[in-house]
Point group: C2
């Protein structure tokens, strides 16, 4: 399954509204086929793996990171393809929360007499599929708040642009996250203070996420580096956006942040990487719209400065706990991650993506 | 040397103005004696180890965490005792920065024909001896700023007392630090908001550090839990402290923070654990008087709240870098530590407490 998850990872950021999926076929201890879903409209992971395996698929074990589909979408059902190829066993990391699938893929396999195991590598599969799962069950993206912060909790000095907080390895990790995200969001304050490019640099085969600027009054300068064809501009309903639209911006007129996320969902933004600043992040946090946190903590002290969050006001006992916290060293910095919401899964599914009855 | 360092650790917080020192004697692969310096006035570590070893000290290797002393203080020189006992070799973790020793202990041993190795376990020895080294070379304590902070950099909610930020394992670690510190400092704001006890709980054989309240205008309530016989009260020269003195407080009248630390040094405070709040910590940080940071980072988000530091104002490029940063998981929390100043050592001594020429 680790190989299948690695295959799936190759599609991260490229498959929306479809999930990133990987598939590996093993026969007699040998990998005979592998595949991943490269982007919506292309064949699914199973199809690539079955093509590579050819006749060797017969009797093989198929490791798939997501329940094979059972419905005719742009491609025929993968469950049927696995049955037709004569695979001997199917191991699935996580169930498909898509109401069109949701266990029917497994039922189809089992109905054809193929033994199915569910939940192997489920936790990592859920992580990979968080964006897809959010989109298909909630109609809005999985929102990841990424910030780099000093050990005394400052993301920037007061009144200056964003100086580098963390070091090289942290930067490289952020670039990977950008490559894997469908879109990257900043507030107008960050655009005016830092004029960020919001591009992916230093990742082999990397591509840029779609910039999203939360800019209620359409104050984005026409020269902003993040403004390019396809940039999404989230504004108030009455903002004058004509000059920005001429530069290629697509305007989302909304009345609140939840609407904004649903509009992004309609545009196939499954994973939204939120890179600041504190004003936008605090508003999303106060509205309980942040799903995951990735904090890069640098071993330095600033003193006065801006906090990654400046609201809402509440007591320490009411602080929002991160589920599944993890810490990892990145050069001199410490990456701390955690979830504010559970990754959407089927009601019957356990924490590891496993159906209790299976 | 690991055993000798463990011996030395038993004296942490109890030996000032002397250093915590451990000594282990090994002969033929067997530990024949061990000892540590329990407190000023008691015999040194070497004496206890030699007593236990008796005749078996002859030809043994002595592992000592600090250069054996060469001068007559309250006890005779340990270097002479080691020579007299006929030890065959001496391994020393770190040199003694005390100008009365500073290499003379080693010279004495070598002069008697005993081979000496320096620097084994030097880094850990320096850590253990930071307070002593600060006191003997700078005349003021080693100041450790400890704080517990949410992942968004808040030590407390605005306008409320200090709710618990971190969890059990972090609390236990803080109690150990209190047990190992000579004194524990808080600002008057913390006393008024939280009324902390500043005692050591849950540590077997633990003792309480001496409370130090930075309280320029002597506003500490007579009912404050931290106010007890021996509590040190740092005030402005003109504060009316009579009621507090009646309760047993010892008053240090100073004009600035550096003076305050020197006054603490005169009272044999070698290690000062600074537990907040942000006002006092920011003032000490702005004056460059914090030597070490121990930040307990909890995987939770608060929103609005108090920062561990609120000054001074400067750019991110001028942030104070922590040397030798370390990260460690403590239950769900992450402990990040680092140094703002080098631990005082002899000019010729390397980073590991080793003289290059030895």
């Amino acid at each position: 399954m680790a190989l299948a998850l690695a295959e799936a990872a190759r599609g991260l950021g490229r498959t929306a509204p479809n999930p990133p999926v990987g598939c590996v076929l093993v026969r007699g201890g040998e990998v005979v086929g592998r595949g991943f879903h490269p982007r919506a409209g292309d064949p699914h992971a199973e199809v690539f793996a079955l093509r590579e395996a050819g006749e060797r698929a017969r009797g093989a074990t198929a490791y798939v990171t997501l329940e094979p589909c059972s419905h005719f979408g742009r491609t025929p059902p993968c469950a049927d393809a696995l049955v037709a190829a004569g695979v001997g066993r199917v191991v699935v990391a996580a169930l498909d929360p898509n109401p069109q699938v949701a266990g029917r893929g497994l039922a189809r396999l089992r109905g054809a007499g193929i033994p199915v195991t569910v939940g192997v590598g489920g936790a990592e599969a859920l992580r990979q599929q968080a964006g897809f799962r959010s989109l298909v069950t909630r109609g809005r993206p999985w929102v990841v708040y990424k910030y780099a912060v000093t050990l005394d909790g400052k993301v920037a000095a007061a009144g200056e642009g964003r100086g580098a907080v963390t070091s090289g390895p942290a930067w490289a990790r952020v670039m990977r996250w950008r490559d894997e995200a469908d879109a990257i969001a900043v507030g107008i304050g960050t655009v005016l203070a830092d004029d960020p490019r919001l591009t992916t640099r230093g990742v082999e085969g990397g591509r840029d996420p779609r910039p999203v600027i939360f800019d209620p009054r359409a104050r984005t300068p026409l020269t902003a580096q993040a403004l390019r064809p396809g940039t999404l501009l989230v504004t108030a309903p009455d903002a004058d956006t004509r000059p920005l639209e001429k530069r290629g911006a697509e305007v989302l007129r909304v009345t609140d942040l939840r609407d904004a996320l649903h509009e992004l969902g309609r545009r196939n933004v499954a994973t939204l990487l939120l890179e600041g600043g504190p004003t936008l992040a605090s508003a999303l946090f106060a509205a309980d719209l942040i799903d995951e946190v990735r904090a890069l903590v640098a071993p330095k002290l600033l003193g006065a400065g801006l906090s990654p969050l400046s609201g809402p006001v509440r007591g320490m006992a009411e602080a929002a706990l991160l589920h599944d916290p993890c810490a990892e060293l990145l050069g001199p910095d410490v990456l701390v991650t955690g979830l504010l919401h559970d990754i959407p899964r089927l009601g019957a599914e356990g924490a590891n993506g496993c159906l209790p009855e299976s």
